[in-house]
């Protein structure tokens, strides 16, 4: 059994909480997000005969008024940055968050989740931005909370990065 702390990051209302809700064991309500600024969920999965227990720190979305508490990032094994491509601002926020994490914690396995893939037509992400995202070298996963798409893959991508590191 491998335990890891995973932080779920992203701009305000990109759908982080909705994305994982159906996939995790929860103990706490969403009110923790607005009060303490973080909500912990657990995702257990088995990959290549190895059990993983991912502690998901769903950290309140960053916007102009709320900033991520760096203390919450301490000791994490990887992170997922959720982007809502229908809102270009969330892309900028994701880039800023990624930079902040790299500065404060260092280089860690990460996944970019492009959420709301069910309404891909409304996406406003241009090719340049997409390429820029690719340049970070982290997997980019398209997800949809509405259609239950890509969430398992998102976790798998993270785990595979650890396997590569340790393998």
């Amino acid at each position: 059994m491998i335990q890891q702390k995973i932080c779920l990051l992203g701009s305000f209302s990109v759908g982080k909480t909705s994305l994982i809700r159906r996939y995790v064991d929860s103990l706490f309500g969403d009110k923790y997000l607005t009060t303490v600024g973080v909500k912990i969920d657990k995702k257990q999965l088995r990959v290549a005969d190895q059990d993983y227990s991912l502690m998901l720190w769903d950290i309140a979305g960053e916007d102009d008024f709320t900033s991520i508490r760096p203390a919450y990032l301490r000791g994490m094994g990887g992170y997922i940055i959720v982007i809502d491509p229908t809102r270009p601002h969330s892309y900028d926020a994701a880039i800023a968050i990624h930079e902040m994490v790299k500065t404060t914690v260092g280089h860690l396995p990460a996944v970019f989740a492009l959420n709301k893939s069910d309404i891909k037509t409304s996406w406003q992400l241009d090719t340049l931005q997409y390429q820029h995202l690719h340049q970070f070298g982290h997997p980019i996963v398209e997800t949809s909370a509405k259609q239950d798409l890509g969430v398992e893959n998102m976790f798998l991508q993270l785990i595979q990065q650890w396997s590569k590191q340790h393998g």
């Binding site: 059994m1 491998i2 335990q3 890891q4 702390k5 064991d25 929860s26 103990l27 706490f28 923790y32 303490v36 600024g37 973080v38 912990i40 969920d41 657990k42 227990s53 502690m55 720190w57 508490r69 203390a71 919450y72 301490r74 000791g75 994490m76 094994g77 340790h166």
Partner: protein, 491 residues
């Protein structure tokens, strides 16, 4: 090895340079300075090897080191004090701090309990059991149970080990430990500001979470009840032991908690509990109350019965008295009745007697009246005849005697009938003689008769003597004879 030069030469021929080396070795062995130099170069490694092999070095050196330290302290204590100062200072401060905290915690608890209703119950218990109040407070307050123990990786907030008491339902410990870490971060971030202060205690109703922060791991225990200060000590000691035993594993933790499975017994030792000692003592208070109630009831009933008996007795006495009084009254009434009857009888007798008396009296009166009439007639019919022109009277004359007797009898009877008798004596004369002498004679005869009768015992006031020749005498009394006549008047 020394010998003649020939032998020496022979040795050189036989061993060559090896012999010189042997000689040099021999010189080294024999020269203490060289030997010690040689040993000094290997002694540390030798000790290390031996110590690693069976630990004998420590055992061998211990007495020597102890002696050396004793010697050093006795010869120059200041030096030792200077050396130990940086170590002892913080240690002593920490110890004092710990002791003060414990004392303060106990004192606070005592103060908190000192004015509550429960404290009065405890004071009563103390008084009842003869123990000191402090003992009772300790007995009652040190009741707790460590329900869960979490060993959490300091950096990641991941759960390294978790134990839970029997019959305690714990929620997902991995999520809880992560959230506990998040909350600590949140509090530290929000309130503590800069510095190394850590969240040490969380309290929610009956539950207290005691948290001990080590360099690499956080040990948290969830206590139900009032955690005594010793628990903090236990927590600190356990945390120290864990860090001592698993420092490297904690440092290099990469998410595999399997390495800390061996810590489970150690954490289990933290699951201490102190049950409320429910001694099966008889509930004296309840018994006392019950006995008092029963006693009061019995006493009341007894009193009631007594009062009833008394009332009955009083009633009986009253009744008896009344009966007695009634009997007395009846008796008196009977007596009175008897007396009345007797009285009536006697009254009747008296009445009869009275009637008889009256009858007798009437009869007597009738008899008296008849007798009086008879006597009156007899007296008035009586007459004494004188000698001619004489006034002499024979007192022994039968007619005089008879007259006297009759007058006496009349007097006796009239005395009874309460009448006064007056007998008028009329002296008569015949026609012979002069009127004047006759008048005198008549008077004399009457007087003489009166005197005779007085002499015979007739009271003088009864007798009045008149000569009939007196002018005021009625003519019916005039008789032409030499006698005296009598007229009886009754008043």
């Amino acid at each position: 090895m020394q010998g003649t030069p020939d032998i020496s030469q022979l040795r050189h021929l036989l061993f060559g340079k090896d012999y010189d080396a042997l000689l040099a070795l021999k010189a080294q062995w024999e020269d203490s300075e060289q030997y010690s130099e040689r040993v000094a170069s290997v002694i540390a490694e030798a000790l290390q090897h031996r110590e690693a092999k069976d630990g004998a070095v420590s055992a061998v050196l211990a007495p020597t080191v102890e002696q050396a330290i004793s010697y050093s302290i006795s010869s120059d204590p200041q030096r030792f004090a200077d050396v130990l100062y940086p170590v002892m200072g913080p240690a002593i401060r920490k110890s004092i701090q710990q002791a003060l905290n414990e004392a303060l915690a106990n004192f606070n608890q005592l103060l908190e309990q000192s004015l509550s209703v429960r404290s009065w119950k405890w004071r009563f218990d103390a008084w009842r059991t003869g123990k000191s109040y402090a003992e009772i407070v300790l007995l009652r307050t040190l009741i707790y149970q460590v329900e869960q123990a979490f060993l959490i990786h300091h950096n990641t907030g991941l759960l390294l080990q978790h134990v839970v008491s029997e019959n305690v339902a714990g929620k997902d410990p991995e999520i809880v430990s992560a959230m506990l870490t998040a909350i600590q971060d949140f509090i530290q971030d929000s309130f503590a500001g800069e510095g190394n202060s850590n969240l040490e205690t969380l309290r929610l109703g009956e539950l207290t979470v005691l948290i001990e922060h080590g360099p690499h791991a956080v040990l948290a225990i969830v206590v139900r009840g009032n955690p005594p200060s010793e628990l903090r000590t236990l927590l600190v000691e356990t945390s120290e032991t864990i860090h001592h035993q698993h420092r490297l594993a904690l440092q290099d933790y990469q998410g595999d908690a399997g390495a800390f499975a061996s810590l489970e017994p150690l954490l289990h030792d933290c699951l201490v509990k102190k049950h409320k000692i429910k001694e099966k003592r008889p509930p004296w208070l309840a018994y006392t109350l019950l006995l008092t109630s029963v006693g009061a009831g019995v006493w009341w009933i007894y009193q009631y019965q007594q009062s009833q008996v008394q009332q009955q007795m009083q009633l009986a006495i009253t009744e008896k008295n009344q009966q007695d009084a009634l009997q007395n009254l009846t008796r008196q009434l009977q007596q009175q009745h008897t007396q009345q009857i007797a009285l009536q009888a006697s009254l009747q007798t008296l009445l009869d007697a009275q009637d008889a008396e009256k009858l007798q009296q009437t009869q007597q009166q009738a008899r008296n009246a008849a007798r009086i009439t008879t006597l009156r007639t007899q007296i008035e019919a009586a007459s004494y005849t004188f000698e001619k022109a004489k006034t002499d009277i024979d007192p022994h004359h039968p007619s005089i005697k008879t007259l006297t007797q009759h007058i006496r009898e009349l007097l006796q009877i009239t005395q009874q009938t309460d009448q006064t008798v007056q007998i008028m004596i009329f002296g008569n004369v015949d026609d012979s003689g002069s009127a004047a002498s006759n008048q005198l004679l008549a008077q004399q005869r009457a007087d003489k008769m009166r005197t005779t009768l007085i002499k015979a015992g007739i009271p003088a006031f009864t007798l009045v003597a008149y000569g009939v020749k007196q002018a005021d005498i009625p003519a019916t009394m005039h008789k032409n004879e030499r006698s005296t006549q009598y007229q009886v008047s009754l008043y």
